[in-house]
């Protein structure tokens, strides 16, 4: 049966609202206000302030991604080990926070972290030294880990729960101890999940401007903040687009790396 014409509505939509807009970003990025072609907007990434914002964004998103792996892997192991019936319930528990408006959730961390906030009140009550991380890069990292942890847990959990328990049993039968079996069986088989988790955490963390605005005070600028300001305050769309092109280079790198190491699309997610 010929179903080709069925793809037309989506094809038109995708060209109009996905492909053409992306081309516009490139067009704006490589032209100046008079429409003359220039590399200035892209090269602008090397100016000291932009370089600093990009470097800081890369650093913070890298740290958050690593922290997410460290937190998410044991969690996914525990979840995968629990009975099957409980799983959907637990998945809901971990996805559910994502549905409360994420601006408000992140803002709530302000209340928790503030100098006289909830956490410090508890620490003072316990006679422990107080925590002063609000408006520092540490608070931004916390916000990133908080917001994107579920994106790491779910793919890892998914790849872990796909592992046939008999493979594990065979390893144990053949004399591997628990740790060896984990190292030789579980870890390699769950790598696709970890890698897909890395892309799903790294890209939004690298490009965020909301978390840094909410938890970093007004002084810490990430590359996302710079681009956002070029569009909403400075109205320099050409510069903003040029910097976005640079950002896309990093996104493409992370996607290519993840698809190379995950050839059969085993890693959950997309």
């Amino acid at each position: 049966m010929n179903k080709k014409w069925l793809s037309f509505p989506y094809l038109l939509w995708a060209i109009g609202f996905i492909i053409i807009p992306l081309c516009m970003v490139f067009y704006y990025g490589f032209t100046d206000r008079d429409g003359v072609m220039t590399f200035e907007n892209v090269v602008a990434i090397f100016s000291p302030e932009h370089r600093k914002a990009l470097f800081l964004a890369l650093l913070l998103s890298l740290i958050s991604t690593i922290l997410c792996i460290i937190l998410a892997y044991p969690l996914s192991l525990i979840l995968a080990k629990m009975g099957n019936g409980k799983n959907s319930f637990l998945v809901i528990i971990f996805i559910l926070p994502m549905w409360m408006n994420f601006l408000l959730r992140t803002l709530a961390w302000q209340t928790l972290l503030e100098k006289n906030g909830v956490i410090n009140s508890i620490l003072t009550y316990l006679h422990l030294p107080s925590l002063t991380i609000i408006n520092t890069p540490a608070a931004i990292i916390l916000g990133m880990v908080y917001n994107f942890l579920p994106f790491m847990v779910l793919p890892i959990y998914n790849s872990l729960s796909k592992i046939d328990p008999n493979v594990m049993n065979a390893a144990r039968d053949l004399g591997a101890n628990g740790f060896q079996a984990f190292l030789k069986i579980t870890l390699p088989l769950s790598m696709p999940g970890v890698i897909s988790g890395i892309t799903m955490v790294f890209v939004p963390a690298l490009t965020t401007f909301v978390i840094s605005t909410l938890l970093g005070g007004s002084k810490i600028l990430l590359i996302g903040n710079v681009i956002e300001q070029e569009f909403t305050q400075a109205s320099n769309w050409h510069l903003g687009s040029g910097l976005s092109v640079v950002l896309m280079i990093f996104i493409v790198i992370s996607i290519v790396v993840s698809s190379l190491s995950d050839k059969d699309g085993e890693g959950a997610g997309f």
Binding site: S7, L103, F231
Partner: protein
């Protein structure tokens, strides 16, 4: 011993994930207007909420955009998924690649790319631009939840219906649609919730006169969030909880367990 450690670890993670939510719920009952102080228990923000027309209108806009964008995305996405399921490998891969762009690309880039598009075509920023943007980022969620359902289907049933004299349209409604319906529903609910929760793309595609809850909160940041916002988001949270439970109640046969997990990953 190990089990206790597991429980403690789970508890700590849950604490980390739910502490801000608990904070917001507590703040919605806080009589003092600032976030910093506890001024006693009150229901007044819940009453004030229903008199605050600005917030209610933003809420109404948010819901309307979520509903319409999810509806259009479901229609376009389902048709696209059916078409893609019948495609040869090459063109299917090309369609998948395009479908993945809005999902993998940074939201800020998707947002500004659409903003530049609307500017270049002289469209007036407002409800329709936000709606177009939301349909665009919602379609992939529908496609990715309908496609696995289609793959599991036995193509012979459709052919059998045709052999028995059904018209293709009739056969579609009688044979294909019932089979993929759970996928369509979960795609719709996913799209709806993604739209409800979106801030970044709305931020770049909305006009000055229009506000969704997210953009309203963002503009209120400097002046201080109105406590009614906390009571509204507490109510929304409970609603979403119910919605999620409903998604999970969608009938799922055992064979489809992997497919449904896949769907949830996308969430």
């Amino acid at each position: 011993m190990n089990k206790i450690l597991h429980k403690i670890y789970l508890f700590l993670i849950l604490l980390f994930l739910y502490a801000p939510i608990a904070t917001l719920v507590v703040l919605s009952f806080n009589a003092s207007k600032t976030r910093a102080k506890w001024g006693g228990f009150t229901f007044k923000w819940y009453q004030a909420l229903f008199q605050n027309e600005v917030i209610l209108e933003a809420f109404y806009t948010t819901l309307l955009i979520a509903l319409l964008s999810a509806l259009f995305a479901t229609i376009i996405g389902t048709i696209a998924a059916i078409a893609m399921n019948g495609m040869k490998k090459g063109s299917k891969a090309a369609f998948m690649a395009v479908t993945n762009i809005p999902m993998l690309n940074a939201e800020i880039v998707t947002g500004i790319s659409l903003m530049l598009l609307f500017i270049s075509f002289g469209m007036r920023f407002g409800f329709s631009t936000v709606l177009f943007a939301h349909i665009t980022f919602n379609i992939p969620y529908v496609i990715l939840s309908v496609l696995p359902r289609l793959k599991q289907m036995n193509p012979s049933t459709f052919e059998a219906a045709l052999d028995l004299g059904a018209s293709p349209v009739y056969a579609f409604f009688k044979v294909i649609l019932p089979d993929i319906f759970p996928g369509i529903i979960s795609g719709f609910l996913m799209a709806f919730t993604m739209s409800l929760d979106d801030f970044i793309i709305t931020h770049f595609t909305k006009g000055p006169g229009l506000d969704t809850l997210s953009t309203k909160i963002y503009t209120e940041l400097k002046k201080g969030i109105k406590p009614e916002m906390y009571s509204l988001s507490t109510l929304i949270f409970i609603t979403v909880l119910i919605l999620l439970l409903l998604v999970n109640k969608t009938p799922k046969d055992k064979k489809n367990k992997k497919g449904s997990l896949q769907e949830e990953i996308i969430l």
